[in-house]
Symmetry: C2
Subunit: 198 residues, 2 copies
């Protein structure tokens, strides 16, 4: 059972922590210090690569009986991968790309179970499509000038004021916030069962 | 502009209040005391009827320059309309209906703008499809025995622990929580523009 393991979140994101708390998981936070390297421009592959690097970096210091979760989120629009904006102007340009259209959010997750007889590693990427209402230039400008977009991949928080501009999504909502907790819980369940059988 | 109006929420739901706060709207709460009457079994029509009754009941006491928002949420699965569970056993039966399948959440909203030259009334229903992972009997039982499902239409909180069992949604997430804030914001914008033109 999941509750038999110590869970370690290889990420300093308070939003990922909150999402895990929401489903009654209470991980310890140990952010990875690895230098992140991407060898692909395909968003779903890039987020898996990064989540694996983070999880492996943290897993190597762990005792048996620990499960490490690494994650990385990017936004993709019109063939571009968008990370966090470097300035309010960059935030403006990102939101301008999204308004009136559909874009994709990808979160890559790697779960490493450190067992007595070696590790089990599982990686996956979850995609959510986000449909945004048309926005006026004034709405984009006023949103981009706030603090809310500044530390978010894609320059918006669906769990914040940006919800006013979201028409709907196809996929997991928590994936857009930063961690697909439904899929994470299902994979954790399977990986723990697999370890118990071995 | 929306900020020129006093906003009144005709609902005591703390979740609807939080959703409006999330998009920077700060309504006054005045729950309706109307006896709710449904004349249809079609979910989208029933929630509109109820939202209209609530909004009209509260709007009749208001001064010009006020916008009243009424809302009602139901869950529909296999042709049945599900409200709040009356017991943990009823919660168990509802969750059992959902597991491994897709069901629908409908929120009906009525917005009444009380203007100087009469009122503008707008009603709509928003639908979100929710896909739930297969659940074991033990998972259903353990969830149904908690307090979380007891005051929720459909006996679950997507914003709570039930997120572990949600595969994804098609539509607006906030609609499942209790108020489709994206659509509400868009309609408020239009209704205020309409009033300014008259």
């Amino acid at each position: 059972m999941i509750s038999d393991y110590k869970i370690v979140l290889a990420s300093a994101s308070p939003r990922r922590m909150e999402l895990l708390n929401q489903i009654s998981l209470n991980p310890v936070i140990e952010p990875s210090t690895v230098v992140e390297i991407i060898t692909t421009r395909v968003p779903e592959d890039a987020v898996i690569e990064l989540s694996l690097q983070k999880a492996e970096d943290v897993a190597k210091h762990q005792q048996p009986g620990t499960v490490v979760i690494g994650a990385d989120t990017v936004v993709a629009a019109e063939g571009k991968i968008l990370g966090k904006p470097g300035s309010h102007e960059e935030a403006f340009k990102m939101i301008e790309l999204f308004q009136g259209k559909t874009h994709q959010v990808f979160t890559g997750v790697t779960i490493i179970l450190c067992g007595k007889n070696g590790s089990i590693v599982r990686s996956f990427a979850e995609q959510t499509d986000v449909h945004v209402y048309p926005m006026t230039l004034e709405e984009i400008r006023s949103y981009a000038e706030e603090e809310e977009p500044m530390d978010k991949a894609g320059a918006y928080a669906i769990q914040g004021r940006f919800a006013a501009f979201v028409k709907g999504i196809d996929g997991d909502y928590s994936n857009v916030v930063g961690l697909p907790v439904g899929r994470v819980y299902q994979e954790l369940k399977q990986i723990c069962e697999q370890e118990e059988k071995e």
